[in-house]
Symmetry: C2
Subunit: 224 residues, 2 copies
DNA sequence: CCAAAAGTGTTCCGTCTACACCCATGG
DNA sequence: CCATGGGTGTAGACGGAACACTTTTGG
């Protein structure tokens, strides 16, 4: 197959931009590089794409390796291919954005890999072009949060409306009016009230809601 | 650098999704593959990414080679990396979307490469996953046309409001109210009327407008 | 003189926004 | 009993959508 062999191959990696939500803040999972080049620098977690796996598979493999979690929401952010983006060799990287519920994530695994949840407003300089990747991921999140049910991925299965509102505020970076927010939520029938009451976060108790996936699949219309 | 060499490299290509606007229709530039695998199938035009060029550079190189045009509007659509997406070898491809003014494109070059402008509603089955790429590109276009000044790339420097409206209708796939459209355009100060009149497309004559790039750069706010 | 495209305002309706007070309970 | 977070409605502003006729001129 000489047609292909005239051309050169390159390394391709995936980098995972893992967002979580904690203390009413949007957080990013980063670690310090254990290898050269860039040993010690803050970095997203990534991995090379194998010869026998798709980009999506590679991204899920890396994330699963890190967190033990499967079926996580992931979306491609884009391919990053500047020649010298990696200080070692020429590597093209495809960034993927994942949204996880921090509570579902085994903290022992987090510590095992030396990873940290860092608040987005306090994000340090990251390795290579990883800051760019994060920036693009946030732009995408902001653009999509009003037309796709993303936010539930950052919350437990059962959540209160106040929690949900805080997720929106964290992603949009601005405050939201409580009454207007709840008014709109009520019009969305796949966000349904379970009869349950959460007594942990408030004395009075707050109604617990959940995202009805099937109902959404039947009529995937979402406008917030 | 054993850290890298443990992993396998892959071929990476770019594919250009070239949109044009003609006869009030959005058109796509495609050709028939001249090489195996897939010889004779309709296809986007692509090329391998060289060891010494960035993804953007590769996309521009391919487009420039095809059309002779430089400084064309291009935007990354995404990376496509299913294992068997290319029937020959494992190739990961990054799709780029370009918007060009058909009139600026030398038709001799088009014929030289055997390319055709095909209306989007009559798009044939394309090679590999190219239909998916096109679909994603259109989704992106639709989403962005109201928040970014894309449409001017499909028109000559001077254009009439009716032409501009037709571009919107072609991209959105639905009719637009003339009076409402013009009302909104008037509020955008970087779409400015030159004093000129176009007598080609109408007997009465229509005012020619242009996109003032500098004015937009000063205040890049765009809401249509 | 007529066909063909350019150009022009107003009204209505629905949506978004701003805004303040009572409720229930644990400590 | 009080501090804390949960829960509720309305009025006014704004923006988008619907809608029809006059103008110009080349052929």
């Amino acid at each position: 197959m000489t047609y292909y062999s005239e051309h050169s191959k390159v390394w391709v990696s995936v980098d995972c931009i893992v967002f979580g939500f904690e203390n009413n803040k949007l957080k990013l999972l980063i670690g310090q590089r254990q290898m050269d080049p860039g040993r010690g620098e803050w970095s997203l977690y990534g991995g090379f794409v194998g010869a026998e796996e798709s980009l999506e598979d590679a991204a899920h493999r890396v994330l699963n390796h890190l967190t033990g979690m499967k079926k996580v929401y992931m979306k491609q952010v884009g391919a990053f291919g500047a020649i010298d983006r990696d200080p070692g060799e020429r590597v093209i990287s495809v960034a993927y954005c994942a949204l996880i519920n921090v509570k579902d994530y085994d903290d022992k695994l987090r510590k095992k890999y030396g990873l940290q949840w860092v608040s987005l407003d306090a994000l340090p300089k990251l390795y290579s072009d990883h800051n760019q990747m994060v920036k693009k991921a946030i732009t995408l999140l902001r653009r999509r949060i009003n037309s796709e049910p993303l936010s539930f991925n950052l919350l437990p299965k059962l959540f209160t409306l106040t929690q949900l509102q805080h997720v929106y505020e964290a992603i949009l970076g601005e405050e939201v009016d409580k009454r207007n927010f709840r008014k709109r939520i009520k019009q969305i029938d796949f966000i349904e009230s379970t009869g349950l009451i959460d007594k942990v976060t408030s004395k009075r108790g707050a109604a617990l809601y959940r995202f009805n996936k099937k109902m959404y699949a039947d009529d995937p219309t979402f406008r917030l």
